[in-house]
Symmetry: C2
């Protein structure tokens, strides 16, 4: 049995707590939040604490707080030589206080407060200093049923950056599409199957191979017509830039 204590009360902390609670090989020893109200609804399931000095011994301490607070929370821990991880994609591993053994346990997914999380669909990127602490963190990912990958700092940061493109930026393209359909009083719903299929296609095919459309074909008439149709200057700028990027990728 691996014992973990969770520090923080946000989405990641909450989803990790729920997921660990369902495993047979990981036991959550304590859950810390400086504001106990945030986790008080779990007090029958786990010991909750509001003082870092109340943290008992555990195999792994998981700091799942906002990026800005990771460093100071790790400094405030009242023990040393234990395994302490953060869950951020962008914060350095060396930002954790060196009095403890440091590592990163980064779940690469988008978490909503309400939505259920299936950890089988949450890849865990594990970064450690040296090899020693890797096996235990790997066991933690295995217990969750998550795909897991060993990464270094540069790789984790590249993933975090790439995630902004496939998540935030892609979602903004959906938003632009919503604005375009709305302006003609037509339902955005009609686009939803295409949105899903586009995401599904690259599960088995590279984005390069999956590309289609006027930019890839360099269909000048359609591109011209689309640009004329677009009234919003920002939409037009996105159309131009991404069309040119596709042309470049496909040697047009």
């Amino acid at each position: 049995m691996i014992t973990v204590s969770i520090i923080g009360a946000g989405n990641v902390a909450t989803h990790l707590f729920k997921a660990f609670s369902k495993t047979k090989t990981v036991s959550v020893k304590q859950w810390y939040s400086r504001d106990l109200n945030k986790i008080s609804s779990f007090k029958n399931k786990v010991e909750i604490v509001a003082d870092l000095n109340g943290l008992a011994e555990a195999d792994i301490y998981i700091i799942a707080v906002s990026d800005d607070a990771i460093s100071s929370v790790s400094e405030a821990l009242p023990f040393k030589d234990r395994l302490v991880v953060h869950t951020s994609g962008s914060v350095g591993i060396y930002d954790l206080d060196k009095k403890n053994r440091r590592a990163v346990f980064y779940p690469l997914q988008t978490f909503s407060k309400e939505a259920k999380v299936d950890f089988k669909q949450v890849p865990i990127c594990i970064e450690t200093i040296g090899k020693k602490d890797y096996p235990q963190l790997k066991s933690l990912a295995v217990a969750l049923g998550s795909p897991h990958y060993r990464v270094n700092s540069d790789q984790r940061k590249a993933l975090h950056l790439a995630a902004v493109f496939v998540n935030n930026f892609t979602n903004q393209l959906y938003r632009v599409a919503h604005e375009i359909t709305e302006s003609e009083g037509v339902e955005f719903d009609i686009l939803k199957p295409l949105i899903l299929e586009t995401a599904q296609k690259v599960q088995t095919m590279s984005p390069y191979m999956a590309q289609t459309g006027p930019a890839k074909r360099n269909d000048k008439n359609t591109i011209k017509r689309h640009l004329k149709q677009l009234k919003n200057e920002q939409h037009k700028a996105i159309y131009n830039l991404l069309t040119n990027t596709i042309k470049k990728t496909h040697g047009r």
Copy 2:
């Protein structure tokens, strides 16, 4: 029973033929291609013809050829006053020769030659001149099990344009993410669950509500760090433009 004849041998024509063949209420009378070799493998299942003059009477003629050829093919049809539709998102309904009753039957999806198509996931946008021909085209969509929507020309063109954003441009963002991960030797696979979840989220939530990330939060430090990380000028331009668009959308 509705009888249809299909004109063209591309992806849309082929997927429509296969889908109609499975229905109990639609019968494909003939399939035309100027190059019979392209459809000869279906000759035991349907009458194939290479001469438009060989087209017999049918309730609906579906022109599923490249956008540029729609107009001339419709002109070359050797009959009049019958129902003739094209399947394009961007070609005008009036580009069809007026000697026949004109309409559009536009399946809004991305079709690959190999991949199976589930028409339940293919919304059909139906445009007619006047109301008379709508019920029969609606029956055609119903026979396929497809969601169907009645649209006008402007709405269909808005959908076609919006589809470029959610399909081609989104796919190019996946491609950029692939380039970013590849440059650090880390697997693109790690991003695939996030890609799917991002698409799934907007099935039940508006893109506006689904947005998260540094641009929405106006997290200047992370944005600065990401821009420093990006070496490719085009990637940087995309990052800047979409970050600014997100900020504008969310009033930052």
